[in-house]
């Protein structure tokens, strides 16, 4: 096979000019690379957002809300309040604290004989700024504190923030625990929506200080299907690779339309090996543009992604498919006779 003596940096410069030079014939493919890269990142964001909404809806219904209590009702146990509230600082835990039922209360002007409960501030942090929480379905107050009366005593109330169904904050009154209460029969832990309750619950239970009998945990809602699992197995996750293959096809077609230009290199003494190198660098520049676009879009949209490195990794995979496929699809151009290439117009 004939050889040449191209200096590598000048061959790279040649590829750079062919791809990015003014009026480059590869501009449509470059535009496609930008669209494919940023589009794949945006598509992953849209899918992530959909997943986030599904997971949040499940969390609102009680998914990933664990209640620790006695394993057997006939063998009660008391859980240390301090150890329960300490779970709030654990990784993967949003809030934790004791939760005890309380006798019904008359709270004016909210209503009479309202269901009530006592809960740790670490479980419902909005209790920090008030004497009690009023369920949002009991009050017209949108936000901020307001004064109520419990019996003859005035008290500062705030409307409870939205919490999972089943935690009792929607339709009732929530008070802080009594100062003297150092134990409770129930410890509630609200996990991050994406945490895995199955693997977390045993570790959390081990950190609770209990008196006597064993504790177990129940989840307020156990979903019949796992949206995270469905998300991870979705067929559309391969879209970036498909875009890479389509981009490679477009690149190969554009390169073929430049066959007479490839002939110029060959007829000027450029060897088939150097033409393959030239086309490889061109493909890397185009696919690299796609990967860079994916990375840039991921940085811009980082807040929306669960993990901003995911679309970057997919962008790199797309670039890999793009590069390899377009090189393979253009190899014959390098080995064809220059005279034949010159006749392709």
């Amino acid at each position: 096979m004939a050889t040449d003596r191209w200096r590598p940096h000048l061959l790279i410069r040649e590829a750079f000019k062919n791809v990015f030079g003014a009026g480059s014939r590869m501009f449509p493919v470059l535009a496609l690379a930008v669209l494919a890269g940023s589009g794949s990142s945006a598509f992953i964001l849209v899918e992530t957002e959909s997943l986030r909404k599904e997971v949040q809806a499940l969390a609102d219904d009680g998914h990933n809300v664990l209640t620790f209590s006695a394993l057997k009702p006939e063998e009660p146990t008391l859980i240390s309040r301090a150890s329960c509230e300490a779970l709030a600082t654990q990784s993967g835990v949003r809030a934790a604290g004791v939760l005890e039922p309380e006798r019904e209360l008359n709270v004016l002007p909210v209503g009479n004989r309202l269901p009530a409960q006592r809960a740790s501030i670490t479980l419902f942090p909005e209790l920090k700024d008030a004497d009690l929480l009023v369920g949002p379905k009991l009050s017209d107050h949108a936000s901020g504190g307001f004064v109520v009366r419990i019996g003859d005593e005035p008290a500062k109330a705030v409307v409870a923030e939205p919490h999972a169904e089943g935690l009792g904050t929607g339709f009732g009154i929530t008070l802080p625990p009594r100062a003297s209460a150092s134990t409770s029969e129930h410890c509630v832990v609200i996990l991050d929506p994406f945490a895995d309750a199955q693997t977390t619950r045993d570790a959390l239970a081990a950190q609770l200080h209990t008196s006597g009998n064993a504790v177990t945990s129940t989840e307020l809602l156990v979903p019949t299907n796992d949206p995270v699992d469905t998300y991870l197995k979705r067929p559309s996750r391969w879209l970036p690779l498909l875009l890479g293959a389509l981009g490679a096809l477009a690149t190969a077609i554009s390169t073929r339309l430049r066959a007479s230009e490839i002939a110029v290199y060959r007829m000027s003494g450029t060897s088939a090996t150097s033409v393959v190198s030239l086309l490889t660098v061109e493909a890397l520049l185009i696919a690299g543009t796609a990967a860079a676009s994916a990375a840039t879009a991921s940085a811009v949209l980082a807040k929306g992604h669960l993990d901003a490195t995911v679309p970057v990794v997919w962008g790199l995979a797309m670039a890999g498919v793009w590069t390899l496929t377009s090189i393979v699809a253009s190899l014959d151009l390098a080995v064809r006779s220059p005279n034949d290439l010159a006749k392709d117009r």
Binding site: T3, D4, V264, M267
Partner: protein, 211 residues
């Protein structure tokens, strides 16, 4: 460099493109390769360049070394028929590719490209994009590229195709001026180029598929 073609033949399956061809192309002159379409002019050029293997016979390059050499694409500059060029690149960049491929530095390649473009009367079009050049100018651009390559053998395939008489005469004049720089073989039908050549090799189509 002188080229000897000895009893050469090229067959494509049952089809004989040419056979029993013995001739030589002398150095320092322009040789016209003439013959009707299908007589094997382009195939012989491809064989001289090393891109087409012979079915029989041999081709020898006699240069400064003691032993003859076989055809080698790296020794040949090819001027194709038509207007092959990097359309969006300047004339200077189009020509500089040739010296760059032989290992020249960028500045040296540019110098050689400028010199070659001036020799083909395109010195005033250095920065012009190739797509803005006329057919005749593109053909001269291809000649400039061949010149700038510094190769000892220039093969031109129908360099006057689609050109008017004025441009053809200009090409003939340039080829004549360049003969001292390389051995030049021109496949052509054009009487202007044939008459300006130093010698001519005639290929004939035989009735039974060959010459």
């Amino acid at each position: 460099m002188q080229i000897e073609v000895l009893d050469a033949a090229v067959h494509f399956g049952n089809r004989i493109v040419f056979s029993g061809l013995t001739t030589h192309f002398a150095s320092g002159q322009v040789t016209a390769l003439v013959g009707p379409s299908g007589s094997g002019k382009s195939t012989l050029l491809a064989a001289l360049s090393g891109y087409q293997s012979l079915s029989a016979g041999c081709i020898e390059f006699h240069g400064s070394g003691p032993a003859p050499l076989p055809p080698d694409p790296s020794r040949v500059a090819w001027v194709p028929q038509g207007s092959n060029a990097l359309a969006r690149r300047s004339a200077l960049e189009n020509v500089a590719i040739a010296p760059l491929s032989s290992g020249a530095r960028l500045s040296d390649a540019r110098e050689r490209a400028v010199e070659a473009l001036e020799l083909v009367h395109l010195g005033d079009r250095l920065q012009q994009q190739a797509r803005r050049l006329s057919g005749g100018e593109l053909q001269r651009l291809a000649l400039a590229r061949a010149l700038a390559s510094g190769k000892e053998l220039i093969l031109a395939d129908e360099p006057s195709a689609n050109l008017d008489a004025t441009n053809t005469e200009l090409i003939a004049q340039i080829l004549h001026e360049l003969r001292a720089r390389a051995t030049i073989v021109v496949a052509t039908h054009d009487p202007i180029l044939v008459s300006s050549a130093s010698a001519a090799v005639h290929l004939r189509t035989l009735e039974n598929h060959g010459n």
